[in-house]
């Protein structure tokens, strides 16, 4: 479940985030929706580590293998004798392997990026087109009361769940809505 507050400016959005955190919501539950990027910490704090680059690396390795098979493997399968030149030549094989390695790495990076962003979404998610006009959205993920939130490495359950876990989802939602309205939200949209 998600709740989205739309703010007209950065100051009120920042105020809303501060109050949500003070009320017990965790940074992991809160995110901002903006049409331009803000440095981390201006509105919310995010996990900076990502894994999609490993997919780019895997793509590169697969591409290099595919290139090798294409240039060297098929030269071996379909030999063309040209003068005294070797059937499997190192130089062309290197070039083809390099090109395919880079191509697959690029494709891997793009695919990995979308997977990590979870785009395109499987279901409908809260959004407001006013965000493109400069408004700032603050989204709070409501988890079922008493459930366990995913903790960051090094964080204990107490730190990452906070007191908010003890109340029901409905109460969390109305609490977040109240805080955001009080902080100056133009409107609050709930799922």
């Amino acid at each position: 479940m998600e709740i989205l507050g739309i703010f007209s400016d950065m100051e009120s959005a920042g105020r809303g985030v501060e109050r949500l955190v003070r009320a017990g919501f965790t940074e992991a539950q809160i995110t901002s929706l903006t049409s331009v990027a803000y440095p981390d910490g201006v509105l919310v704090r995010t996990e900076q580590r990502s894994w999609f680059r490993w997919l780019a690396l895997a793509g590169g390795i697969v591409g290099a293998g595919a290139g090798f098979c294409l240039a060297a493997g098929t030269a071996w399968l379909y030999p063309v004798q040209t003068g005294d030149k070797p059937i499997i030549a190192l130089y062309p094989t290197g070039i083809i392997s390099f090109e395919l390695a880079m191509l697959f790495a690029i494709i891997g990076a793009i695919v990995g990026m979308f997977l990590e962003m979870r785009l395109p979404p499987l279901g409908k998610r809260l959004y407001d087109p006013a965000i493109s006009e400069g408004c700032i959205g603050i989204s709070v993920s409501i988890h079922t009361g008493g459930g366990v939130m995913a903790c960051r490495p090094g964080e204990g359950p107490g730190e990452c769940i906070g007191s908010i876990a003890s109340i029901s989802a409905g109460e969390q939602q109305s609490l977040a809505e109240g805080i955001m309205r009080e902080a100056g939200a133009l409107r609050v949209i709930a799922e």
């Binding site: 901002s32 990027a37 440095p39 090109e99």
Partner: protein, 469 residues
């Protein structure tokens, strides 16, 4: 929209980069997406004109297909003519768009932002045009699929030891890579365009935006992906033009068989690409009234880049000629003498356009900031660069090792028409792209506005988010 622009108070106070005026987010969106407005009569006329030139080129090509390759000027010993000149020229143009964008992204040069999209789109369309030339040049074009590696009953398999197959592979990789790079850069802009448009455009942008919402996590991953893509695409760009150079350098044709060819080609490609980016910046600035975003500062910086690359090109050309001259190897010198004698005007235009003019003009700040001077210089560089490609290809093939088969070459109307159609086709693709997609990197520019917005502190005003990316 229930709220007016006036309600977005924090954004109202942002001072536009390079100007003193204050603009709201709505105004910024309107101006930066102005290219998406309904086409005017002049736009239709331009598209019709370009389409007509492309149609003429298609007619010329069909003439060649139906009559055979004799309708071109190609004949022994010059079997590469205007088509391969066009191919090398357009590959060169394509080189710089992505390269400039990537380098400026990696170096976090803030002035890059209004230039990115024009440069990246240029790469995609020019490499697409370039990729058509080898197919046109083939003869029996309908058998082009013989180059595609798949098991077949003909018992044919592409010979990957041929440099021409390296070209096919590299250009395919570059077309896909640069298209993805362009798309990646557009992703947040497509979301803004989705939110601000209606009808079929909204549906199109919604599909392409992939459900982008601009969450903090999306932005973090997006920036990391942009940096990674920029780092990955640079070696591909360098390899593409190096491979095109190897088409020549790995042969034993006098004038081509030279170790300096790959770096020389790469430098030449960057020179023509930077000049083409400048030309496009001027056209876009004028066509979409973007004077407040593409300021003299941007032309000043691009002019400095042009100066450096022109100096490098001049040095590489000097080294190439000086080595030939000093060694005085007979056949190498014969090729150069033939070129200097038969193509004197072209050689002079090449030296003036690629070296003398940009080096002298770009030394002066006033000239770098003059839009008209930049237009003339950038156009001259590319005219000279086309001639340079021609002078690399034709004289060497005209006077190879065996004097009894020396010959010459003049392009036929078919080849000239196809080359003109390629230019028109590139312009048409670019014109259509500009009408369909944001031609200015909207969110990048707006991000700079946010970063450079000043907030009052006591009696002074300080940057709100100084520099940090």
């Amino acid at each position: 929209m229930p709220e007016s622009h006036a309600s977005y108070s924090s954004h109202k106070s942002h001072e536009t980069h390079g100007t003193a005026e204050t603009k709201t987010v709505g105004q910024l969106n309107d101006e930066l997406l102005s290219s998406l407005r309904a086409p005017t009569r002049r736009w239709y006329l331009l598209a019709f004109f370009l389409g007509a030139v492309v149609a003429w080129g298609l007619f010329a090509f069909s003439w060649q297909v139906t009559h055979g390759m004799y309708v071109t000027g190609k004949n022994r010993p010059v079997m590469w003519g205007f088509y391969i000149t066009g191919f090398v020229f357009w590959v060169g143009i394509s080189h710089s768009g992505t390269m400039v964008s990537s380098i400026l992204r990696l170096s976090r040069a803030n002035w890059r932002r209004p230039i990115l999209r024009a440069a990246e789109a240029m790469t995609v369309f020019s490499i697409t045009v370039a990729g058509l030339f080898p197919l046109i040049h083939l003869g029996r074009n309908w058998t082009f699929f013989y180059m595609i590696p798949y098991p077949n009953q003909r018992g044919l398999w592409p010979n990957f030891r041929s440099a021409l197959l390296w070209d096919v592979t590299a250009i395919t990789a570059y077309i896909i890579g640069s298209s993805l790079f362009l798309y990646l850069g557009m992703l947040p802009d497509l979301a803004v365009a989705r939110d601000l448009s209606v009808g079929w455009r909204r549906k199109l942008y919604a599909v392409l935006a992939m459900g982008w919402r601009g969450t903090a996590r999306e932005w973090v991953v997006y920036h990391q992906a942009s940096t990674l893509m920029a780092a990955l695409i640079i070696p591909v760009a360098v390899s593409v033009h190096s491979i095109v150079a190897w088409d020549f350098a790995v042969t034993v044709v006098p004038g081509w068989h030279s170790t300096i060819f790959p770096p020389y080609f790469v430098i030449g490609a960057i020179l023509s690409g930077v000049a083409a980016v400048i030309t496009l910046m001027i056209i876009i600035r004028r066509a979409f009234r973007l004077e407040a975003y593409l300021t003299p500062l941007h032309f000043d910086n691009m002019g400095k880049l042009l100066l450096v690359i022109s100096l490098l090109w001049s040095y590489a050309y000097f080294v190439e000629v000086q080595t030939t001259w000093y060694a005085h190897e007979p056949i190498e010198w014969e090729v150069f003498s033939f070129m200097a004698g038969r193509y004197t005007p072209q050689l002079l235009i090449m030296l003036v356009g690629n070296s003398l003019l940009p080096i002298t003009a770009m030394c002066f700040k006033g000239l770098r900031r003059s839009i008209w001077v930049m237009l003339v210089v950038s156009l001259m560089v590319n005219v000279a660069m086309f001639i340079e490609r021609f002078l690399i290809i034709v004289p060497s093939l005209s006077h190879k090792n065996m004097p009894f088969v020396w010959g010459s070459y003049s392009p036929s109307w078919v080849e000239i028409s196809v080359n003109l159609a390629a230019l028109a086709g590139f312009a048409l693709l670019y014109t259509l792209f500009a009408k369909l997609f944001p031609i200015m990197a909207l969110t990048d520019v707006r991000e700079l506005e946010v970063r450079e917005a000043h907030i009052p502190l006591g009696r002074t005003r300080l940057p709100s988010i100084a520099g940090k990316e």
